[in-house]
């Protein structure tokens, strides 16, 4: 099934209409010596039922988190997704539209993105949000490029508390550019502020920290932002949107750019994508911002209306001088996040964050009672715990798996000094009983 509706008879009529005796007359524009003289080596097409059976077979060969208890986090989280999110965000009118270049034909998506921008601003406490970027890691890389572009400086200082994958992606973005990358170490599981202060140079464009950081600890963002400010560098915070129901917002801590992964806002874990890049900043930097922006305006009769705006920042107008090459973004994921945030509301977002924290606290206490301690028990956490196992992590993880528990992420791959530590994520979905089971496996 190739979803072509034109019948053979119509095809012949259309060929006659364009003056072709056969399809070949239209394909001759491709020189003969360049033509593929055989069929593609791809299996023949499938009817819908056969296709569904095949896909069900492939899907059945994966153990979804649904059938297990998921304590895996490390950048992707198993949060509850209300049914309205799927129902509304996946409406065919949203699913099958494209970028709202023609405003009069796209008021619905434009208004939804204007609301999305507003809610991201409300959540982060910053002035402007774009209409989405690809995902967390690339959003952070865009923040670094924007900081360099804004300050005219060339060095990017990054805490080792930032998600290791984000740091790797950032290094890929910076390589080959006249920009340098410097990493600042951790002390007791959080950014070493003395080392960070010492790393700042006149040429430092951005200081990037994550809070809660990759190890789950809440960073002293205000202090780090103050260092950045004193050095005339931009402070960039990598954030988890769910945590902002409880934690101080980036805007309250004088952060210049908040960038992060928005998957937790109503997008399924989906084996890693598609996710949602969140990006918000202060008003004064708006013209250096990457990505699409929706603005409010009026129509010819003075009615409120919405359109894409400040497009002179973008590639289709400015080409090599654009603030970023991003074109297609994550519209549908932004739609999901919007419905999610609106469904939760101010109180719901606060409650979800509180539930995550309550449960993480319960788990921490139970682990301690069972003789398993946190690596840095004095560091404040939100919903991820860095647990120091008594038995080798490579033994514990398969045991937990056998019990149907995804126990967490072994951070030793990225932090050799934390070789036997497990990063355990707790969302509002986890129950007391599930956490008790985890404790019995980990002890």
């Amino acid at each position: 099934m190739d979803y072509v509706q034109i019948t053979q008879k119509q095809r012949d009529e259309m060929l006659r209409a364009v003056g072709a005796s056969s399809m070949e007359d239209l394909l001759r524009q491709v020189p003969d010596e360049l033509r593929l003289k055989r069929e593609l080596k791809i299996p023949q097409g499938m009817d819908e039922l056969a296709l569904r059976r095949h896909l069900e077979d492939l899907a059945a060969q994966n153990s979804s988190a649904d059938g297990q208890v998921c304590f895996l986090g490390a950048g992707a989280y198993d949060h509850f997704i209300p049914a309205v999110v799927d129902h509304l965000a996946m409406k065919a009118e949203f699913l099958t539209a494209y970028t709202p270049y023609q405003a009069e034909a796209s008021q619905g998506s434009l208004q939804a993105f204007f609301e999305f921008q507003t809610m991201v601003c409300q959540l982060t406490g910053l002035d402007v949000s774009n209409a989405s970027l690809y995902e967390g890691a690339t959003a952070v890389a865009e923040a670094a490029l924007m900081a360099a572009n804004t300050t005219g400086k060339r060095e990017i200082v990054v805490s080792r508390g930032v998600n290791p994958d984000y740091r790797r992606v950032l290094q890929t973005y910076l390589s080959g550019m006249p920009l340098s990358y410097e990493e600042v170490g951790l002390k007791h599981g959080v950014t070493d502020s003395q080392e960070l202060e010492a790393a700042l140079e006149e040429d430092t464009a951005a200081v990037i920290v994550q809070s809660p950081n990759f190890l789950g600890h809440v960073e002293r963002v205000e202090t780090l932002a103050r260092f950045a400010r004193a050095n005339e560098s931009l402070a960039v915070q990598v954030f988890n949107p769910i945590s902002l129901g409880l934690l101080k917002r980036p805007g309250e801590m004088d952060v210049d750019i908040a960038a992060g992964e928005g998957q937790a806002l109503g997008t399924p874990m989906g084996f890693g994508g598609p996710y949602l890049g969140l990006f918000a900043t202060k008003e004064r930097y708006v013209r250096k911002m990457p990505g699409r922006l929706v603005g409010q305006t009026v129509d010819a009769e003075g009615r409120r209306a919405f359109c894409l705006t400040l497009q002179t920042r973008e590639q289709h107008i400015r080409r090599e001088k654009a603030t970023s090459n991003v074109c297609t973004n994550q519209g549908l994921m932004a739609m999901r996040a919007s419905v999610y945030m609106a469904a939760m509301g101010a109180k719901g977002m606060r409650r979800v964050a509180q539930l995550c924290f309550n449960k993480a606290s319960y788990l921490a206490n139970q682990l301690k009672a069972a003789g398993v301690s946190l690596k840095y028990p004095k560091q404040p956490f939100f919903n991820e715990l860095l647990v120091e196992l008594k038995r080798p992590v490579e033994k514990v993880l398969p045991e937990a798996e056998a019990e149907g528990i995804l126990a967490g992420y072994a951070v030793g791959k990225d932090y050799p000094e934390l070789g036997n530590c497990l990063l355990v994520a707790v969302t509002e979905k986890r129950t007391k009983e599930e956490m008790d089971r985890l404790v019995s496996v980990l002890k």
């Binding site: 890929t172 409010q296 705006t309 519209g331 109180k347």
Partner: protein, 491 residues
């Protein structure tokens, strides 16, 4: 709806309302350190479930979409998005899998990704594919990084110039800039093809690559592409293909067979993954084997009967995004390729080409085709690929702008074609293969009616659209005094 249209979420917010029922807490409440807590209310709206549903239902009614309207947006390939693909992407075994689960937990997903890798390599006629890039522009950027790593490995770091024709997509030069490459523009000939003489003067040992789109953005297959490839290769540079227009050539010719070294796909164009009001897309890249070592990590590989992630690629450019790719999008692309099969993919491209030529044929006596047949000859004498551009000078000369035509089409239920790209005053029309003949006829007739109307009276065009929820917008005002979020000030 009031006179200002659908109210904003913030305007229907009712303190205390909520659309969700969160679980009871089965553990003790814990106190989060007040010193680390937020001290302000977020201000997020509070809306009951039915009001939330009505709000988004109203917004959905205010969107043109492929499911509701013909959407001949040139270069974007707005084909039908099969519903079975949505069903597939929603299967729990695909959608509810954590990306860091053990490989033995995700063999079905990895097999799907591995097979898709193979199919995309075959369609490209190239050796290896990376599925990781997030969208076409991200694919361009990734590919340019690969090209740079390839030359650096050969001690040719000075190759930092990338050539691109003047009709290139805006993302091409923007991606170059993000890789630290400088862009030099190559002229196009009056027949829409790249000027090889101009190209020759720009080739040097500082040129890394030329980025071309083929069929190009004016809808012509560049028949000199093999000669261009030879010139480029002789100069030690690489030929990059922007795969935006792959919908025209699947199974007919392959980029690798016409000299391309590296390319990106847009799955949301060629393989029917939905455009979602602007995304997500996916931008897999395909390369010749000489470029394979530099592809991003990790790569999905088959080891015996098992699938695995290969991180051990010492020459790799590194990671380009978190985790493995736009998997949910790739599942849809895979389902599409399997549904179509080899013969179906070729039929897709043939029909896309036929549909574009048919629409062009029906309107070309009024809508001039700068790169089409001359003197009333039929389209077959100088056909377009899967899209074409028209510069309807006769209409424009009557004082009707191309944007006026676009807005008039909206009132007639059609999403306008791409306007002013790749040349000023053009409509770029891409019907796609999935439209019925009746829809193509209806669209062609509407365009002809608009031309007639412009002859009688140009004024109504200035008013259009009049049948939408809004009239034409003040876009200049929007940019001059940007209002980018709701602040509560307006009613």
């Amino acid at each position: 709806m009031n006179k200002n249209g659908e109210r904003l979420l913030f305007e229907i917010s009712t303190p205390g309302a909520s659309a969700v029922d969160l679980p009871e807490c089965d553990v003790p409440e814990a106190e989060f350190d007040p010193a680390l807590s937020t001290y302000t209310q977020s201000g997020l709206p509070e809306v009951g479930q039915l009001d939330l549903v009505r709000h988004y239902t109203h917004l959905a009614h205010r969107c043109f979409s492929v499911d509701g309207n013909f959407y001949p947006l040139g270069s974007c390939t707005m084909k039908y998005n099969p519903k079975v693909n949505e069903w597939a992407a929603g299967l729990a075994g695909f959608a509810n899998v954590h990306p860091l689960q053990s490989e033995h937990h995700v063999q079905g997903l990895m097999e799907l990704l591995y097979l898709l890798r193979m199919y995309l390599a075959e369609i490209a006629g190239l050796d290896e594919v990376s599925l990781q890039p997030c969208a076409g522009a991200h694919g361009e950027w990734t590919a340019l990084k690969v090209i740079r790593a390839y030359f650096a490995d050969r001690g040719q770091e000075k190759r930092r110039i990338v050539l691109a024709p003047d009709t290139a997509h805006g993302t091409n030069p923007a991606s170059c800039a993000m890789c630290g490459a400088s862009v030099v523009t190559i002229k196009s000939l009056s027949n829409g093809l790249t000027d090889l003489e101009d190209l020759k003067t720009h080739l040097s040992d500082e040129v890394a690559a030329i980025m071309v789109t083929n069929p190009n953005t004016v809808g012509k297959f560049d028949r000199m592409i093999a000669q261009m490839a030879e010139m480029v290769h002789r100069a030690g540079a690489l030929l990059y293909l922007d795969g935006a227009n792959m919908n025209a050539i699947m199974g007919i010719t392959r980029p690798g067979d016409f000299g391309v070294d590296i390319m990106h796909y847009n799955t949301h164009k060629t393989f029917s993954t939905p455009h979602g009001c602007g995304g997500p897309g996916a931008g897999p890249i395909a390369v010749r084997k000489e470029l394979s070592p530099y592809l991003p990590v990790p790569q999905v590989v088959k080891q015996g009967e098992k699938y695995a992630w290969d991180f051990d690629r010492p020459k790799s450019i590194g990671k380009v995004r978190s985790f493995w790719g736009q998997v949910g999008v790739l599942v849809r692309a895979y389902a599409y390729i399997r549904a179509c099969g080899a013969a179906g993919l070729r039929d897709v491209s043939e029909t896309a080409v036929l549909a574009a030529n048919y629409v062009a044929q029906r309107i070309k006596h009024v809508y001039a085709l700068p790169f089409g047949p001359k003197d009333g000859s039929p389209m077959a004498s100088n056909p377009c690929a899967h899209e074409f551009i028209t510069v309807p000078r006769a209409i424009i000369d009557r004082g009707v702008t191309i944007m006026d035509v676009a807005k008039a089409l909206i009132d007639r239920g059609y999403h306008p074609p791409t306007v002013h790209f790749p040349v000023h005053d053009c409509l770029m029309i891409e019907p796609t293969e999935t439209e019925s003949k009746a829809t193509l006829d209806g669209f062609a007739e509407t365009l002809l009616e608009l031309a007639e109307q412009s002859e009688r009276d140009a004024r109504p065009f200035k008013e259009a659209p009049v049948r939408q929820v809004v009239r034409r917008l003040d876009e200049v005002g929007a940019a001059r005094k940007p209002v980018l979020r709701w602040t509560g000030a307006q009613g």
